[in-house]
Symmetry: C2
Subunit: 700 residues, 2 copies
Amino acid sequence: MAPDTRTIPGYTIFHKEDYDSAAAAAVTPQGIPHPLDQLSIREIPVAAALLREYASPKQLKFNCITLQEPKKENYAAFKQGKAPRPDRRAFAIVIDRQSGQVAEAVANLTTSKVEEWKEVKDVMPTLTLEDLDIMERLARKDSRVIQACKDIGITDMSKVFIDAWAIGIDERWGFERRLQQGLAYYRNSEFDNQYAHPLDFSVVADTEREEILSVDIRYVNGERTAAPPAEHNYLPQFIGDKYNHDRLKPIDIVQPQGVSFQMKGNELSWAGYKMHIGFNYREGIVISDVRAHDMYQDRERTLFNRISVVEMVVPYGCPEKPHHKKHAFDVGEYGSGFMSNSLKLGCDCKGAIHYLDGVMALASGEAAVVKNAICIHEEDNGLLYKHTDFRDGTVISARDRKLIISQIITAANYDYGFYHIFSLDGTYKLEVKLTGMLNTYSLHSTEQAAPYGTEVASQITAHNHQHIFSLRIDPEVDGQNNTVVQNDAVASEYPVGSPQNFYGNAFYSKKTPLRTSLEGAADYCYETNRTWDIINPNSINPSCNKPVGFKIINTSCPPLLAKPGSVVHTRAAFARKPLWVTPYKDYELFPAGDYVCQSTGEENHPHNQTIWDWSRRNESIENTDIVCYIQFGLTHFPRTEDFPIMPAEPVSVMLRASNFFIKNPGLWVPPSSVCVDTMSTNAFPTSCCAGSKQGDQSRL
Amino acid sequence: MAPDTRTIPGYTIFHKEDYDSAAAAAVTPQGIPHPLDQLSIREIPVAAALLREYASPKQLKFNCITLQEPKKENYAAFKQGKAPRPDRRAFAIVIDRQSGQVAEAVANLTTSKVEEWKEVKDVMPTLTLEDLDIMERLARKDSRVIQACKDIGITDMSKVFIDAWAIGIDERWGFERRLQQGLAYYRNSEFDNQYAHPLDFSVVADTEREEILSVDIRYVNGERTAAPPAEHNYLPQFIGDKYNHDRLKPIDIVQPQGVSFQMKGNELSWAGYKMHIGFNYREGIVISDVRAHDMYQDRERTLFNRISVVEMVVPYGCPEKPHHKKHAFDVGEYGSGFMSNSLKLGCDCKGAIHYLDGVMALASGEAAVVKNAICIHEEDNGLLYKHTDFRDGTVISARDRKLIISQIITAANYDYGFYHIFSLDGTYKLEVKLTGMLNTYSLHSTEQAAPYGTEVASQITAHNHQHIFSLRIDPEVDGQNNTVVQNDAVASEYPVGSPQNFYGNAFYSKKTPLRTSLEGAADYCYETNRTWDIINPNSINPSCNKPVGFKIINTSCPPLLAKPGSVVHTRAAFARKPLWVTPYKDYELFPAGDYVCQSTGEENHPHNQTIWDWSRRNESIENTDIVCYIQFGLTHFPRTEDFPIMPAEPVSVMLRASNFFIKNPGLWVPPSSVCVDTMSTNAFPTSCCAGSKQGDQSRL
């Protein structure tokens, strides 16, 4: 077996001899796993062994080994006590080390049997960190790369760094090679910021044969472009005396009684909410079985069956080669799980934090753990509600609270924080914070950055780009059968002066149910403040006599700026619409296809269908089990302020209870203050504040 | 003189005999006031006396007495040491108690002279809390109101409550009367929520003559509608045992070394920012002279000359009488200062809070103080930036911090929190949180709420409405002369396959300078992710060779849904556009006119011009001293969750440094963690975290 024991920063790798170690014990769950729990460090090598035995004498490279979640029907039956516990199953994508053939396999860990084995063609699996790791190693030794560096005055190859990216598009090769591209940078010294010294060539490599296929040098008027020489750093060894330690006094966030949530394995309860937290190499965090306790009906009600970020794309807007190849699908091409930060190292949240680990498989079939990949914590969220009665000075206010389940990933230069946020008013929000480093390129002396980039520092351009994320919501709004209704705020059709609208002020919410998956591919409409309600037509809110629902509020959904017919527009069809609604199907998850690397976006690919294909099946999405893919993001024209390291920029999408509860769902929250103004006229009003002691206003 | 010494909840009133009290001393500033400081409790009665003497023998009712800010030119000259300190001046609007004649006056407090006195016709000043207070008092005694109540079974008039509103529109009277309308409610018991029992009549009163002009009863098919009987309460005496005290553990926010900002009088310094905090009866908080220290150029740079919320409108969408009259302009009609909550009573923020008082004049010319009207505090703001270098596991992250200057106002049923937020990345954000009570109305048994309202509880409808706010920004981006450039993200004009855009991915930011105030009336464009840069064409960022700027990001700007030609559309012309840009003129502040009550929106009113008129002057706004009016808000279709008290709903607008600084302006912030992964493969990585002690991750 090939050795795959290179170290990977952030990963803790468990070899066979480590299984009985204290470290292994620390990350091994006790008892029977929940059916949605990620595979453990003990299950992964078992699955690998089953698959290796099955495929023998083939030599397998494991691209992924991950939980095969039970089919929805089976899991539902188990939950209802109508069926036995589903077997534990591992889903794997494997590559035959000799032939390069890709296969999908399912190993039943309960019965120790390989149940499925399917060869798939004309697809390329995710590039793992191990795969990407070859680029720099190979490129530094490649004579063409060495020459390309030498020609611009660089001879110390240890100072040359190559960020490995998925290929994007390169017509010179097809599926006969598993491609990646390398973007080149230089460092003046060990911790120097390489993105201040982009180099003018890029590299293409074959991942499996471990060879450099091409070194593509950009010439401007026949000339090379030297690396921009100036340093632009952000690490302490460079900033040093520019830090101002006096300006900000500490803000300490303290939870003397600990957190308000309880964990039972990976099942979480908080403030009436219940859910399961899963994790896999590709989506990262997966939140399942989200329920809420209804204080008015005193029962548990289902909200969402499954929530995860299933794709994203970052198309760059510079048409010049080689930048046309930059359109990263970070989830599908690299995996949000694989790229997870170990948050122990980051100190990224404040207050009392509970961490969960992420478990993944290496190419060897061994397990690797990203310790503290998932952060669970609470934050104060300001006012939940307040009202002052101006007559008697009665004041009541309560504070909102957030439960935040988050992870941070690093995709070469960029860093993304994903924050799944639940709050007490019946809102789920996904906030993404974009930070890290801009992708940069060198400017030749005859070039200017505009219009396709910004010169963020002398001779360095950062190109225009978009970030479009796909949030997959499998709703279960008070039950499995849901419908999406489109809401448009429109003025009354009746003219000013007519009896029906004499003063011209009439407006209402026009409701359009989306009936088929073709209609479910919806556009945003700013002019009508368009929103969408996921309703349950079978569950009527007795107060308003309308179906119960959750409203999708998605106002940050930039249109895809790549033109129709362009490579990105074709490959990232999901990004053309802010909303797609399809009927639920087991294992239909990834809107840009199961295999995004080197994908072409062709229609009806036998092994790689996309949301475009699913939508065009034109099936009913009315009063049935549906799935919503919600696209949101931003268009980024780099600013000098984004360099050398970007201030975090947030973007979010929200689902909000909308006639789901019969009243404000947060009325169980004890008010933080209830006061009565004594209406003294000659001295300051004395207040009687219940729940908020004098001089201790910071306590709930 | 008529007695105006009724108590007003939240107000502390200072009569002449109180001037030497400890309470008076506590709210009297020491030393020479800053030219932008609000009038003190000692200056207000002095101004009143000067004006009273000037106008004698007229009997004056003071509608407002407020600081007449110095003219920009004079203040600038003073700041530059080129002119003496501007005189302290009071601006007043007064009503002749006999004739009802309105006049504007300026009293120079330095010279003790009345410098201006101008009678203004066909206008009606702001309704003060004292003005609004007459409604309930008069209505309860009015025989028509008593009969209207009796006819639906209500005989105890102490249980009837009348919310006073500006009239909106009522063709039966004109400027011969100073009108207000009253919306009627019922309470079953002392603290019962009256908005659960709306009554089916409304009242019109003459504010000055203190008489009820009309009681307008709504009949449906000739029948009255009884008050909905069910109680829907939110105060502790009703919720009692439904509170769940165990679910949420406390989150304490502690600042052991105190706040990071310094106050010198009303001048604030924080994290390199400097500004002055003012306050008046109408705008509430006024932030002036905003500057930032530039760490790269080591100099102070001007950002904004003045920031305030100058208007808002809440048009309701039900065409049926009397709801066509509901379109509250809360700032102009009632005054954000007048309606301020005393935050001592609300315990509304956490951490270490610094409060400032709001000072206003009563009709008597005496001063009243809203103690703790302004809250200044800091909050942690999550990640400022983070990057992990995947090669060596180097992790750096820093935390962002917010400075928040806030006030909360209560406008009868609604409560609005206004949060002016500065953060370390060079962003100013205005966030408004909407909470309090929905405006409700009773449904007759034959009626349904849809389409113009939601039945939030049995027999209670809450009507569709919008909230549109107007944020006035007087920019001073690196100097006085600025230009607004409109940015549209557009695909390249070159087709896919052309040499200029072969792969079809090209896009750029199309720049259109707004040159005149007509062009400055700009629409939003969702399809192009439209933003606007306030640039200084005379100050070039040396990194990118572009003018320095601040970007207006305003994506929550719902189109006004009232039809053109409707009353609201005409009166609230400001709400038709998300952005208006006009050249700066002293004392041109209020886009719906200086006098909003009973305004008609007519063009070129001699004493009441609006943004529509200013825009149509069609003056240059290029490279000159300009002002931006930014409209934003939301369209609210009430949900059952908004009843009986609304979960706070946030909406915001942002101005962000955009090529203003040559680099990330937050690099002076000491990182909260700097770590290196030691890449141990068989144990969890040990980290060396600088700046974040083990077990104390909650500290900056």
